[in-house]
Amino acid sequence: MDEKPIPLTQLPISKRGRIIGLDGGQGFKKKLRAMGIKEGQIIKVVTKQPFRGPVTIAFFSCQMTLGRGMADKITVEVI
């Protein structure tokens, strides 16, 4: 299995990944973590919009759309 860290945007749709790192400013990381998008969290990609549009992810039992730039700053490993 491929266990190299990849940005969330490269996580294949419907595969599960574990977050291993967040990039970016303190405020941004805080905002994500308060939502539960934090190191160790298991997430899935529901869909990606074309032309580098936003990414919709699923974690816990909720879904969330976030911009491609933000998703790029989330590093995951495929599990």
Partner: protein, 572 residues
């Protein structure tokens, strides 16, 4: 001192429904995050004691990331007791804010709302253990049906300052949450349900975009269908068969004179519902007979879109386009709300994160998004000339929205952060809630529209009597003709539109203008200035300085568009 109870919680967990249950006052609730953007106060009496209850916007943490969340935190500061409403289907994520609140040293009650939803999601929550672990009362509720609300009310006196949870870091909170969840929640494995499948289909681009186009098309089609039929089969017959004879009698009784002109219009039969410009004729017929049917139809459809949870999916699909215009997908919410009335549309720009986004969203809203009163004007004035002319107006507005957005995005300083939006699960809209919400909005419209139309009719009549309108119209005649290809009298319609756009219907119809001239007039009327109500809200939301900028844009754009349309449509 009356104790203040503030409802705090993540967005879209049902705070506003709980608020309505507790206070009996009605506030708007919808199935998307960011419905409430301001605070609302209400009163509740329990056992001889009166409490003030405050519904606040939702927030994910105690660090605000937009104006709506700032409002929530402001409310929290003055709270004597906090009711923390959480989404039981999403307990783990919601507990983050709960822990932050518990660290605040305020008496708290935890409400596990949406309790009805957890059963078919295969989630089991042990609320008794949760109560022990957190050291504050925990009450399961189904706010929509009222289940558990009584329990909540009787437990308000038991609200406690937590002594179990100690302040800690982000990481510490998540560790704490992890250990709490292990003890109180079991989630059964669950297969893909129909609801999940619909959710997937409507958010994936390949299927989602065609569905979105279909949904929008059908929505407008239904709005027109309901609106038209209400007019043809209900309102017009009532006005023609019952109301007009009454007014004719009244006209006889009053006889010609100033009072007649003011109340009914010029003396003599037939009395025209639209053009006569009397308070009891035009002043009542336009809001009730022309605009109201579309208001009913529109808000009914909007409620359905809101309560199912479709809007955040639409926001996801259009995000990329809106980003090019300096906003992000959530900008679709002010736009949709604005189609009903620009006032709530302008307020909902608070959910956008930066000044730049709010400025662009509000300005485009005021310029390019016609509210129901404006739409009624477009249909009322151009309808009988054919759908083609209406089409020109819409195409112009859409093109303008895009071009102006692209330009503003380039030239307005500031950042346009990316979308960060929770996608709620689909819910079947309750018919009762839909009707109630539609009714609340209709009442609001009537309260807002009728006084303004009365006032407008009054002012116009006075200005006419004094000869002021005729003077302005004569003075501007050459300018109007040379720049916009319109007769000077059209100025009067433009001035009237400052108060309310629907008021201009009667003025425009009574003028002798070609359909293409009317297209120009109607388009300019839509663009150049929002109604006074929207204007005052925008001043508050944007601040004076930005509002002056925005207003100059409105006027500038109206002049340019009017001029271009003259060249294109009239060929001179």
């Amino acid at each position: 001192m009356i104790k203040k109870i503030v409802l705090m919680g993540n967005p879209n967990v049902g705070k506003s429904v709980v608020f309505s249950r507790l206070t009996g006052a009605n506030v708007i609730a919808s199935n998307y995050p960011g419905t409430t953007v301001d605070f609302f106060k209400g009163k509740m009496r329990v056992g001889g004691e009166t409490y003030e209850i405050i519904d606040a916007p939702g927030t994910y943490s105690l660090e605000p990331s937009n104006k709506a969340e700032e409002v929530a935190l402001e409310m929290l500061k003055n709270a004597d007791i906090v009711i923390n409403v959480v989404d039981s289907t999403n307990l783990e994520r919601n507990l983050y804010l709960t822990l932050e609140l518990l660290e605040q040293n305020k008496p708290i009650i935890l409400v596990l709302n949406l309790w009805d939803e957890i059963k078919h999601l295969g989630i089991h929550i042990d609320e008794k253990t949760l109560e022990q672990l957190l050291g504050v009362p925990v009450i399961p509720t189904v706010a929509l049906t009222g289940e558990g609300i009584k329990d909540l009310v009787t437990n308000i006196k038991n609200a406690k300052v937590n002594d179990k949870i100690k302040p800690t870091s982000e990481e510490g909170r998540w560790i704490e949450i992890g250990s709490i969840i292990k003890k109180v929640e079991i989630v059964e494995h669950r297969h893909h349900t129909l609801r999940d499948r619909i959710s997937d289909l409507t958010i994936k681009p390949l299927t989602g975009i065609p569905i979105a186009l279909g949904v929008i098309f059908i929505s407008f089609w239904i709005v027109r269908l309901i609106g038209e039929n209400l007019i043809i089969y209900l309102l017009d017959p009532i006005f023609d068969n019952f109301y007009l004879p009454l007014i004719e009698g009244l006209s006889e009784y009053i006889g010609p004179g100033t009072i007649h002109t003011l109340l009914i219009g010029d003396y003599g039969l037939p009395i025209d519902k639209i053009e006569s410009l009397g308070m009891l004729t035009t002043g009542l017929y336009i809001p009730i007979g022309v605009v109201l049917p579309y208001i009913i139809a529109f808000y009914f459809m909007l409620s359905l879109l809101e309560d199912t949870g479709y809007l955040p999916r639409l926001a996801t699909l259009v995000d990329k386009v809106f980003h090019k215009l300096g906003m992000h997908g959530h900008g679709i919410v002010p736009m949709f709300l604005g189609l009903g009335c620009n006032v709530p549309g302008a307020l909902s720009t608070r959910t956008l994160e930066t000044r730049k986004q709010r400025f662009i969203s509000a300005t485009l809203l005021a310029i390019c998004v016609p509210c129901m009163a404006q739409l009624a004007m477009v249909f009322g004035v151009l309808g009988k000339h054919g759908i083609f002319y209406i089409f020109i107006v819409f195409i112009t507005l859409i093109i303008l929205y895009i071009i102006l957005g692209l330009i503003l995005n380039r030239f307005i300083k500031g950042e346009s952060p990316e979308i960060f939006l929770e996608i709620p699960s689909y819910r079947r809209p309750s018919i009762k809630a839909t009707i109630k919400k539609t009714w609340m909005r209709i009442r609001w419209f009537l309260k807002e529209a009728i006084p303004f139309l009365f006032l407008g009719v009054l002012i116009i009549n006075v200005l006419y009597a004094l000869g002021i309108l005729q003077f302005i119209s004569n003075a501007l005649q050459p300018i109007m003709i040379s720049i916009f290809g319109m007769p000077g009298d059209a100025t009067i319609a433009l001035i009237t539109g400052l108060l309310r756009k629907d008021l201009a219907i009667g003025m425009l119809i009574s003028l002798d203008m070609t359909p293409l001239q009317l297209v120009i007039a109607v388009t300019m009327l839509t663009i150049y200035f929002p109604c006074v109500a929207t204007f005052s809200v925008l001043i508050k939301e944007l601040g004076m300085k930005d509002m002056i900028k925005s207003a100059s844009l409105m006027i500038g754009v109206a002049v340019i568009v009017g001029f271009l349309l003259k060249i294109i449509l009239l060929g001179v």
